[in-house]
């Protein structure tokens, strides 16, 4: 996509749905917006079909509001709750077979590099915990081993949400769920540690209780992936439907997790740190 595309033809402008007209007049495409501007501009994702209080929907909204170059970004997704929001977003979006997302993203990134040698095209994987930690773990890790220049973002609701509540590898040990009545019997998969060991040049672990941190780390992950190497962001996105808490408690649940087992963590390689200091150190972000 290019900024040019985000201009209606005069003959049909008045017929476009309001959603599009607002995006054109007041969206994030033409002028740089950050998460700090949330509420002052038309968001790329305005409506979504998620459950009330959905942490994943919030994680997706915060992530797409943090993209450094939305018009030149391609999101790669896969099956799961994360898909619902992305299908509604006004972004280039490619849905892959369950678990294939990092392999598909690797190919798209390489192809875009050949097709648009002079433009930065950001390829961002944005999927759930099941897609990354369970079904797609091999392909995810291999994209990191190969040093593919893509950012991988996990919206971690610690459950297979839209299929009725099965445990995922990211579910906490002992957690009882609709489809895990005896409780999960092994610990949360340490994907954040795996990212560090497997070649990611930058990693961050955050929760939806800290939108500004999400804004900062998503932008950093994408900008570093552009030039240095693979990056990883893991966002805790609590699920009221399956964990059976009131929808208005999502942020509180996330805040409590952030004070405990889901504390803010970040790592950066020496290369990435040097590149960041040289190019973005003066940035307000």
């Amino acid at each position: 996509m290019s900024i040019k595309v985000i201009k209606p033809t005069a003959a049909f402008a008045s017929l476009l749905p309001t959603e599009y007209l607002e995006l054109v007049a007041d969206g994030p495409y033409a002028s740089p917006k950050t998460i700090n501007d949330l509420g002052t501009f038309k968001e790329i994702i305005a409506e979504h079909p998620h459950c009330a209080g959905c942490g994943v929907a919030l994680g997706v909204r915060l992530t797409v509001a943090s993209l450094p170059a939305p018009a030149d970004t391609l999101i790669v997704g896969t099956a799961g709750c994360s898909f619902f929001g992305l299908a509604q977003a006004a972004l280039n979006y490619s849905c892959s077979a369950f678990g294939n997302q990092n392999a598909v993203a690797s190919g798209l990134k390489r192809m875009l590099k050949i097709r648009y040698p002079d433009t930065d095209k950001d390829v961002v994987v944005l999927v759930g915990d099941g897609g990354i930690a369970d079904i797609g773990l091999d392909l995810t890790l291999h994209s990191w081993f190969r040093r593919e220049k893509i950012a991988t973002i996990m919206v971690d609701n610690e459950v297979y949400g839209n299929t009725g509540g099965q445990e995922s590898g990211m579910t906490q040990e002992g957690q009882v769920l609709n489809m895990a009545p005896k409780g999960k019997n092994f610990a949360k998969i340490p994907v954040f540690e795996l990212a560090r060991v497997s070649g990611c040049v930058y990693g961050a672990r955050v929760t939806v209780a800290s939108p500004k941190k999400i804004g900062r780390v998503v932008r950093k992950a994408i900008l570093l992936a552009r030039e240095v190497g693979p990056t990883y962001v893991q966002i805790y996105t609590p699920c009221p439907t399956n964990f059976k808490f009131p929808p208005q408690q999502t942020i509180n649940i996330a805040k409590k997790a952030e004070e405990g087992y889901y504390s803010f963590q970040e790592f950066i390689s020496d290369d990435a740190q040097a590149y960041w200091e040289k190019n973005f150190a003066s940035s307000t972000m």
């Binding site: 033809t9 017929l15 476009l16 299908a87």
Partner: protein, 194 residues
């Protein structure tokens, strides 16, 4: 061996109608067009389109992203010409701004997408529709869904090779062809008025 040729007729044909191409419908060459699966001269198809539009109870144009967004030189002018054509034919317009599967919130009165075109057709009681400026594979998908589930008569004004899955399809649709179709409708309206 003699077989009855497949005809691309108004639906509802059933949940999953076959792709017309798989039943032996061939695309037209430049200067030709398709009417219900048969190759005819372009002029004949234009006459048929004009007749269909002017006799329709509730005709609609569905312009796609290639006409809605001002993405390259010439698009704005073509959009103008199409808008004029629709107005002349007394057709209303519902845009297809992109191809996202926007469930469940799509408003069928203001928007159509290729994943559920039947909703827009049912809700608006559309009996004749015109696809223009829709990318090929999305147009094919939507045309099949319409033929499968609705009784709407589909017309494709295609800038490329044409669409076997529409009941009438032109190909190679540029500014001159748009002008000629407009002229035909204009004169047919004159005759009707006379």
């Amino acid at each position: 061996m003699s077989i009855t040729p497949y005809r691309v007729l108004v639906g509802p044909e059933g949940y999953l109608p076959p792709a017309a191409a798989s039943r032996g419908i061939l695309l037209p060459e430049k200067g030709e067009a398709l009417i219900e699966g048969a190759i005819v001269p372009e002029e004949e198809a234009m006459q048929a389109i004009a007749t269909k539009l002017l006799s329709a109870k509730n005709p609609f144009f569905f312009p796609g992203p290639q006409l809605l967004w001002d993405w390259k030189e010439g698009v704005a002018l073509k959009a103008q010409a199409v808008k004029k054509l629709a107005d002349l034919a007394g057709a209303r317009v519902i845009p297809m701004p992109d191809y996202r599967p926007k469930y469940p919130m799509i408003n069928p009165a203001v928007e159509i997408n290729p994943n559920h075109p039947n909703l827009t057709i049912w809700h608006n009681k559309i009996d004749v529709c015109v696809f223009i400026g829709v990318h090929c594979h999305y147009a094919n998908m939507a045309l099949k869904i319409i033929r499968g589930g609705t009784s709407c008569y589909t017309i494709a004004l295609c800038g490329e090779a044409g669409h076997e899955d529409a009941m009438i399809s032109l190909c190679c649709m540029g500014m001159p062809e748009l002008a000629r179709l407009t002229e035909i409708i204009q004169s047919m309206k004159g005759e009707q008025a006379a």
